[in-house]
Symmetry: C3
Subunit: 344 residues, 3 copies
């Protein structure tokens, strides 16, 4: 099951240029393209006539033309011309999807458009804020998207999964605080006066002990923002003074493809050495490397769940954030099911 | 669903020489081989003893010998010897299939042999008529065979799918006439006094305007013969005078493998430059190239239909030939089902 | 269906050294490793917490540590530590499997441990008997394990499947004697005063006629021991005098992975030229080559059975051994089903 009445990321804005993009979200094939004015169109990727994916066609002045019989569809999904005849038959349209371009991302609403409100798009403004430098990527993941959310809300896996890349032995023992809100969860860890670990040491460019924080914000359905950073020990960061800190905002959001596949969109935004292309390269590599460690775990976990009927048997203390996230998600799933039943 | 009581093409005659050929038709594995006298044998490709495909065995003087325990089967499918014993157990036989070799093709009847009559084999005599030169091929297609018949009965897709190879911009607007008969459909288009397009221009070897025709004959279950050609404008072709024309007969027939795979057999026969091997090569390449464009469309269409419950939503004027073909096919399917139910 | 309350081979002893080994037996994922004292541990390869295969983790002083959250399991499958908390939650354990190391093999009991008794492990002592030299291997087979047992109990397939490697034309006609016991079957063939075939001729190193024997012992669930050899003609071998013989003991045992996959473990033990590494190489190659011929047949047979509803239609005289083996197996399956129903 996936949640439908939600904003999901369809693509980074710069993934959608002149080319037609075909992706599947929430079990539905979607074709995306840009109009001449830069506007984004998202349509059902299946011609209403003979089911050829419209993404196999081409863009014309009148719209997206099917590559089989030339039916052409405008930005609303309406068929506007059929070769060889003057009238368009009634019912000739494909489903349009509402999109919004914001924060360097194309957002899409896969559910009932009447319930959509762009105000609910999460705040990922760091991605296109000139005060921050951003690297990022989009990766298909062979796992249900909530397995990745579990992973992000769990600050303890860092030591076991990412020890060689992100980890520092010290962090596993630091307490994590979990806060629950109406449609979000926050997990916070502060590590005072410690070696910041290889990743931040590299970013700092010097070898000093630091106060270090990791604050994971999860918002339904599958959006996370990790507020992370280090500041020289006792410069006040834990009390809010980040003037000597270097900071990151990691925007990670999952979009369901189907019940066992998802798109993983990530952007790492930093407020230091923002004009340094070497730092871009370093961050791109480091985060991609760490993510590939998660991919290995998540896909092995999904593959095992595919052949296993038993549910997970135990929870541990470190699952507090994850369990809070799952509770939000399960409640939302239940609400969706009630609405679907009421609508029948 | 596929139609069983029908003649289908199993192979080109020259595909079946000394080697054993294993193919699946209508969900049934079949092994084909030739006898010393050139006769063709087609048997169930599954030993009645322990289910090894007989195509894994070898040909002996006594028949086809299973590669596991050496049971040997004659041309009727009867087991004629079992190693180590003098008696052949009762019930030791595999199903034989009736075949006919005609027009350079091996035809096979996958249904009830009592209903088979070679008189129903379609006329593809151009393939081995010395007055015509032929190129051809057999290609597995990942799509239901009727998707390919739809495609062949539809003269409008040429512009959208084959514009770079066969198409000429002019043709899309020319009217198509559809005629319905008891077990066949004919679709005809005449294009008068136009550029014949790159394909025929190459065949003509000169750049003149022509009268051009495309006549698609479809016969149940999945046989088509395309009568195509060009003649210099106003030399009388539309009225039947083809003395100055160059002509082709394209024999295309689909054999179902299962509900989403089929064999596509095609032969392009021409009555001009018949002794020109360069022309053979050119036609082999051009038709294969055009066919691969269709394959891309048909396989994408099948893949989309695999994940889509919705039926096709609209028809357009250009579907007249296709709809006529589908009506014949659907009627034949219904007759088959009634007969199967009556037989139970 | 597979039989559960049985000893199966999990691995050759030397396949399990310092590394963690992940294999699936009887539909159940298993992780195997050795303790410092050389003892073998076999556990359910699925963390009870979040289902990551434990084989993705690492061995620590305290046990096998999960690669996701660091839960550590001891040799009994009990979770002995959870990072970040002092108490291990109740129910934190994975299923342990009883193992025995014997005859150079790791044996595993996949059923109810209360029913396990190592006395039932078959006698494969030749594998680590210093008087015998052994080569062997473990190969995954894409077929139900009983198809391989059928194959081993059938001395007639040798001529058809292995003619180029093991076969000699003469053997097919020699009578085979089948003996049935409570939980085993024995199939015996003696070939007197014949060319011993390419395999034994090579082993003998000279070209003389021999008395040759093949005695296949099958024991439930899937263990076979082939007593094979040749002795110069009329030196008394058929009457028990093997003093001038060269002999082999082929230990072949199948372990079910699931209903259409199995592990094939084989060891060829010989009592001649035991210190000759060239002979090791020759035997390794020859037996592997012959086995790959069986793999081709068995996997083709399984693939055909996957798409075929019909049962096998006939039996032949040569099936006597195989049918006796199947009867034992079917009886054991029925007993297992009765026990499972009684337990419900």
């Amino acid at each position: 099951m996936v949640l439908y009445d939600q904003w999901y990321i369809a693509a980074f804005a710069d993934e959608l240029q002149d080319e037609i993009l075909a992706r599947t979200f929430c079990h539905q094939p979607v074709v995306l393209y840009r109009l001449d004015d830069g506007g984004v169109v998202a349509l059902e990727d299946r011609c209403c006539h003979r089911h050829l994916p419209l993404s196999k066609g081409k863009l014309t002045d009148n719209g997206l033309q099917c590559g089989y019989h030339g039916l052409t569809f405008d930005r609303t999904g309406a068929c506007v011309s059929v070769p060889g005849q003057s009238l368009v038959p009634p019912g000739a349209h494909v489903r349009p999807y509402r999109t919004e371009e914001r924060h360097g991302l194309i957002w899409i609403w896969m559910g009932d458009e009447r319930n959509s409100d762009p105000v609910e798009i999460p705040d990922y403004h760091w991605i296109d804020d000139p005060a921050w430098a951003t690297v990022g990527g989009s990766i298909p993941l062979k796992a249900h998207y909530m397995l990745s959310i579990d992973n992000l809300l769990d600050l303890t896996h860092e030591y076991y999964v990412h020890n060689s890349t992100l980890g520092a032995e010290a962090i596993a023992d630091h307490p994590v605080r979990t806060e629950r809100f109406d449609s979000s969860v926050r997990v916070t860890r502060w590590i005072h006066d410690e070696d910041p670990g290889p990743f931040w040491r590299m970013a700092l460019g010097r070898d000093i002990d630091c106060d270090r924080w990791q604050i994971v914000n999860f918002h339904l359905p599958s959006h996370t923002m990790l507020d992370v950073g280090v500041a020289p020990t006792k410069t006040g960061a834990p009390k809010g003074d980040r003037s000597q800190a270097i900071e990151g905002r990691v925007c990670i959001s999952l979009t369901p493809i189907d019940d066992r596949n998802s798109w993983y969109f990530w952007a790492f935004c930093r407020n230091f050495r923002t004009d340094d292309p070497d730092m871009d390269t370093t961050f791109q590599k480091a985060v991609t490397g760490a993510y590939m460690e998660d991919v290995t775990v998540l896909e092995a976990q999904q593959a095992m769940m595919d052949i296993t009927e038993n549910p997970w048997k135990i929870d541990v203390n470190a699952d507090a954030g994850q369990l809070a996230g799952r509770r939000l998600y399960d409640d939302a799933l239940r609400r969706q099911e009630s609405q679907l039943q009421a609508a029948e």
